[in-house]
Symmetry: C3
Subunit: 362 residues, 3 copies
């Protein structure tokens, strides 16, 4: 098949055209003043839900992520000697490798569980007991589980921090962080608390808030920045788009959320289009919203960006990959750096990468 | 599910009440004088059976484990650059992660096999050939296999040391080390070779010596300390509790082993109660002894401690977790440190953590 | 089973008799002058096929491998902080552990995929998209896949280098490097470009070039050294031994390739006998050529060496293991070092282990 000196075997050293977002953390970094204080409380908490954060903590996490993305090679990796327990009881490549890459780049070691059948769960061990064991083996746990309740059942026994990397149809908060981090790399001015009304953005979400954990966590995360968002349009033909109280919670937090069904009618007014067609149910997934697809022929606003959090199916045409709408590659890349930022804080190593007040050195 | 600032998401930094044993390696450490000489021969041997050890070697391993448990962060990790082959051809979380955590804490790297189907065994490769390959890839092997014979079939081809992490229903010597290490952390005076008769302890083992590798290895390990043990009561309603010669071998080694069936009648006289209800047979397990259960309502001696080596089922009630009888959490924790001690010696790195005579620097 | 002080549990510290090749990289190292220049272009290319190399590049890779094999403990591991994505979508122990051991010995970290079912492929993610993700997570990819086309489908999206560790029945170029490296350790004079005709060797290959990726890659690799090879005899009773054009390509490159069926008639004239009885087809394998077997009773030339690239079946009797014909153990061992050499070059770290001209420091 291959021939000698086949140019296909030459490797491009730079990103291809159209993936502009990959190289742009610098503007975000410069737009945010460093302040380690909001990050210092992260070391005494688990990360289960988007609800646990606030605007200042998130902005400082985004700033640290942008710092890591600007200078990826660390001279003194802050997590040397630390051990991550990467426990994926549900199939994953993207999220598992993204967390593991983040941890390795910080200098730490990893123990992976990639198959529930290879574990004590197969012998009937309870989740609180597994949590008690994990206390002895590692410094942080990243957990993905098909059941929403699983992570909550472990909390009582844990003395080391745990991060929710997807619990059933409930939440996936670090994916939401990666989503918002991407939006702020694209438009750093959106981080301002008093953005003029004319500068606010419209976001379209093709997905189902009640059944997609990524969408649920993203909406909660966007609510912290409601003052920069004119409106969120949920694009779907499904019924029961919201759980009881879900829409009210967002509205109360100041986020304007509207349902729409005419994709091509909405697209010309959207600045950010987020698309996802997979919902996890139990230990399998179902495709939904396949009637709503994006391609280079879609009536996208000239400057609009597209985000896509998961494995791509037919809902997102590859003919968009080389256009300037493609920020989904940047989004996947940024996920590594936002996880590096979060992990650094949770293991009390902020003091190694930021100047923190002496009395509370992280 | 979660709400902002949910106190459940605050992480306790200290162990909960009732798990007192977790913090007590210091007394054991202080009670044993350091002597590296018995440890120095470990680097030229495989570890397959509890039968391979002796009292002095075990006490120095326990001492080194207590030293590691007292100061877990090592400034100069002694196994930097060394590679562990973690070969688990039978499902495991606890033992695999415990060994891998021990190795990572010593600074080494790991290659894991967690599924026999992903390996050359699926292509019909023989065990001696696999052993020959392993010589080239790593510095130590930890093997778990459903067949008792598997590890013996590899020995002839091996130039790097191998540790038996469970071979069928035969042995699991490092688990037995963790068990005895826990007993000695609880009562350091038991390490004395001339304990007064009145101070000797009574140990109850709820399990089946002929079919549980953990029990088989523990009994052999206890025999080295027979002078500190008044009696071992095997508590079971099963038939064929012992293999041919098994009881005789223990008696000959000085250990007094008696069979009993009345759990509640025995409990008031037992200082240590070891309980396990799983026996591995082939590539699955069977529960046994489920008629013998422990709970906070059991007539336990006031100072008695409970040990449990594996995934817990209904045989051990969680209402004991917050009592002072719970030393099974300390036991799981200690397993990491005893494995650190053993691994350090097997890779000839004692000289990096203890003062050894110059002529035979480890 | 074991008894105390069982001599079987004493571990031999040196290779057993008969595996002479294991200790012989020094002669090859001394016979080749160091020249880093041919290696410097490797960092800008993927490694997919044996066709991509040339004589000078291979000889310098063999030299660096011999250097690593002579002094395996590196004071300054050149890949510290680098991440390998070890993606084995087809079962493997030998190749996966060999690559992972090589990477760890160079100081790098690893993320492994050992089961396609645990990955995004299960969710329908395309290979170009997976490649795009991998760009963000690691520094090098090693890929094994059941489909020959898979690696080619990833190339367009990759900015980090990928190495083909077996693609269906197509190629396995690093195994071929390990094979030729072994031959040159055995007879360093074969590296000479002007070997006298009387010194040329005869190689027998028991296998099927059209259906075995190891054989296909080896023949292409041998063609670079055709001036040292009198003849290659393909020993098989199968039909369709060659793909269209395969034999012609080798002949054109100067390699004399002949088919033969009388194994015992050929053996007395062969210097190197390469044997393999497994061909991968789809996601399973078929045994072929089981009518051609080697044993200590085979009429081997006194100085002949035997090579075997994969898991051994009945085609190669273990009674050869302790004879001087056994270079297959040395071959497996050498595979780690040739992969260390290749990986060092692909990550642009030649400058850390060889003197390179300042202007193009690797």
């Amino acid at each position: 098949m291959a021939v000698p000196n086949d140019p296909q075997l030459e490797r491009p050293l730079k990103p291809k055209d159209g993936t502009a977002g990959i190289e742009r953390p610098r503007a975000l970094l410069d737009s945010l003043p460093e302040d380690p204080r909001p990050l210092m409380s992260l070391s005494s908490r688990h990360v289960v839900s988007s609800r646990q954060f606030d605007r200042d903590t998130l902005l400082q996490l985004f700033r640290l992520a942008a710092q890591y993305e600007s200078t990826p090679a660390l001279l003194h990796p802050p997590l040397a000697g630390k051990i991550l327990i990467s426990a994926f009881y549900e199939p994953s490549t993207r999220t598992r490798l993204s967390f593991e890459s983040a941890w390795h780049r910080l200098g730490g070691d990893i123990m992976s569980i990639t198959d529930a059948r290879s574990t004590g769960i197969a012998k009937g061990e309870s989740l609180p007991d597994i949590a008690e064991m994990f206390n002895n083996y590692g410094d942080v746990i990243v957990l993905r589980n098909t059941e929403a309740e699983a992570i909550y059942e472990m909390l009582d026994s844990l003395r080391i921090p745990i991060i929710n990397a997807g619990n059933g149809i409930d939440e996936h908060p670090t994916q939401a962080m990666a989503d918002v981090y991407t939006i702020f790399k694209w438009r750093p001015e959106l981080t301002s608390p008093d953005l003029p009304a004319g500068k606010r953005i419209r976001i379209g979400i093709i997905g189902v808030p009640s059944r997609m954990r990524t969408v649920r966590s993203l909406l909660l995360m966007l609510a912290y920045f409601a003052s920069s968002i004119e409106e969120v349009a949920i694009l779907s033909h499904e019924d029961n788009l919201f759980d009881e109280g879900q829409h009210e919670e967002l509205t109360k937090a100041g986020l304007s959320v509207r349902v729409a069904t005419d994709l091509d009618g909405e697209l010309p007014n959207l600045d950010v289009v987020y698309i996802n067609a997979i919902a996890w149910v139990g230990d399998t997934f179902e495709a939904m919203g396949m009637d709503m697809r994006l391609s280079a022929a879609s009536p996208l606003k000239k400057d609009a960006i597209i985000l896509h959090p998961l494995a791509r199916g037919e809902e997102l045409s590859t003919d968009l990959d080389k256009t300037s709408h493609n920020w989904y590659f940047a989004q996947a890349r940024g996920a590594v750096f936002i996880r590096m930022a979060l992990l650094t804080c949770m293991v009390r190593r902020i003091g190694e990468v930021m100047d923190v007040p002496d009395t509370s050195r992280g």
